[in-house]
């Protein structure tokens, strides 16, 4: 069964000016800016979805985004978010 992704409940995800989103980890004081797609990915990490399901939902939400193009990007995004403690992986 592919890994699913779960948001760290301590993370703050703030909307900021200029269509930016700010992820804040209060445990580490780590801050990371993202665009709306990154924020949408993070919100989809509710513990029920794996990579392909997240990609599918993103492609539906952001029309015109080709599935093949974004899979690698979102996989990399999830990997870096996991490394920074913003999400965890459920095997």
């Amino acid at each position: 069964m592919p890994a699913r992704y779960l948001r760290n409940p301590d993370i703050v995800c703030r909307e900021e000016p200029f269509d930016q989103w700010l992820f804040f980890n209060p445990d580490t004081n780590n801050r990371r800016f993202s665009n709306a797609v990154g924020a949408a990915v993070w919100h989809l990490c509710d513990g029920t979805r794996d990579l392909s399901q997240i990609v599918q939902e993103i492609c539906q939400t952001f029309e015109g985004v080709p599935l093949d193009d974004v899979t690698g990007d979102i996989a990399a995004l999830l990997q870096s978010m996991e490394a920074e403690g913003f999400i965890s992986r459920i095997e």
């Binding site: 703030r14 900021e16 000016p17 200029f18 804040f24 209060p26 445990d27």
Partner: protein, 369 residues
């Protein structure tokens, strides 16, 4: 009027948890009528922190009065932590003991702590206690305890008439003896107790100049270890940049010259007084509402005072009362609005304590000579 892009909610909030203090410092801006207000209860502060959590506020700075006089301080800190925030504490240090440090070991209290700032105004009791009565020994003990236990601790030195000639000793105490990586300075301003004690405590222009010379020497001796957002140390650079801009026509990009641009706080933060009153800053106490009855989000977006403060930056210095004919107006930013608001009831005025024209008039020359 240009459209200002504002964060949906504040990034941080300065919170005066209590009006009580075990000291009576001679320049405390949080004095006089402030102490007549009643502290919010534990429950009301915890409810406030829940609202801040819902607003995605990231950090709070807890002060007073003296925050450590609240017996429920750690319960309140746990409320901050439960609502996904980090925190800092501003303290006089005198109530910090081994037992205090043990309480920080519980849960995430230590992990979420940005820093504890202790006020130290002298290298020895006679100097420190002249502005912060009967507190040197306990304040330094608290500072040493924090430093030795590896806490993120910093010091604020408020430069005043009593410690002007002790600044080099203070730097040696803090940086060499105690071994802090750095400390910061500002100066006593005539607000609160500082208003009553202005003649005794606040630096005049000639003393400002002397303090700037001393701080210049200390900056050379301890590169990168002294910080300042205000006061003589900050003025070294600010006045030099004004001189440079006037001489060359090249204006700094660090801050907006020629307009009332000083203080960008209302774009990212608010403050709450110990009775729950919401204000732009705990030094600029225009009442915006109260956390027990009003929505912080609504105040942040719609309050006319905040709107007016954010639009100060569009007011040319030449249109500011008292500045119309000033040759420095095209290079000035008016400095902190809290003092003019206290003096004149108007934050759209220049801060007389930081006025470069007044400084030159009284000293007889500018910083470039």
């Amino acid at each position: 009027m240009a459209d200002l892009t504002l964060t949906p909610t504040p990034h941080s909030i300065d919170i005066s948890l209590t009006g009580r203090c075990n000291l009576k410092c001679k320049y405390c801006f949080y004095a006089n009528e402030m102490t007549a207000l009643t502290d919010l209860s534990t429950e009301k502060w915890l409810a406030c922190f829940e609202e801040l959590g819902r607003l995605n506020v990231m950090e709070v700075t807890l002060s007073g009065g003296e925050a450590f006089t609240r017996p429920d301080l750690f319960e309140l800190i746990d409320g901050v932590i439960a609502n996904r925030m980090r925190y800092s504490i501003l303290s006089n240090g005198t109530l910090i003991t081994d037992k205090t440090l043990e309480q920080f070991a519980v849960g995430k209290r230590r992990q979420r702590l940005n820093y504890i700032q202790i006020s130290i105004d002298g290298s020895r009791p006679e100097v420190h206690d002249a502005s912060r009565p009967n507190s040197f020994t306990r304040a330094v003990r608290g500072l040493r305890l924090l430093k030795e236990a590896g806490f993120p601790v910093t010091v604020r030195v408020t430069i005043n008439k009593h410690n002007l000639h002790d600044l080099e000793n203070i730097a040696a105490l803090l940086l060499e003896d105690i071994g802090l990586p750095s400390f910061s300075t500002n100066d006593a301003i005539p607000m609160g107790s500082g208003c009553q004690n202005e003649q005794e405590i606040a630096l005049g222009p000639r003393e400002q100049l002397e303090a700037m010379d001393i701080m210049r020497r200390l900056l050379e001796r301890y590169p990168g270890r002294l910080n300042a957002q205000a006061g003589p140390q900050a003025k070294i650079q600010m006045y030099a940049e004004m001189e440079h801009a006037r001489r060359t026509g090249e204006k700094t990009t660090r801050w907006g010259m020629g307009y009332l641009t000083a203080c960008g706080c209302t774009f990212s933060k608010l403050a709450i007084l110990h009775d729950g009153t919401i204000v732009p800053c705990n030094m600029l106490t225009v009442r915006l509402g109260n956390v027990t009855t009003d929505s912080i989000r609504e105040i942040w977006h719609t309050h006319p005072v905040l709107k007016a403060m954010r639009e100060r930056r569009f007011i040319p210095m030449q249109e500011v009362p008292g500045c119309a004919n000033c040759e420095w107006a095209p290079y000035c930013n008016g400095s902190c609005p809290a003092l003019p608001y206290t003096l004149y009831g108007d934050f759209n005025r220049a801060n007389p304590h930081d006025c470069y024209r007044r400084f030159i008039q009284e000293v007889g020359h500018g910083v470039a000579q």
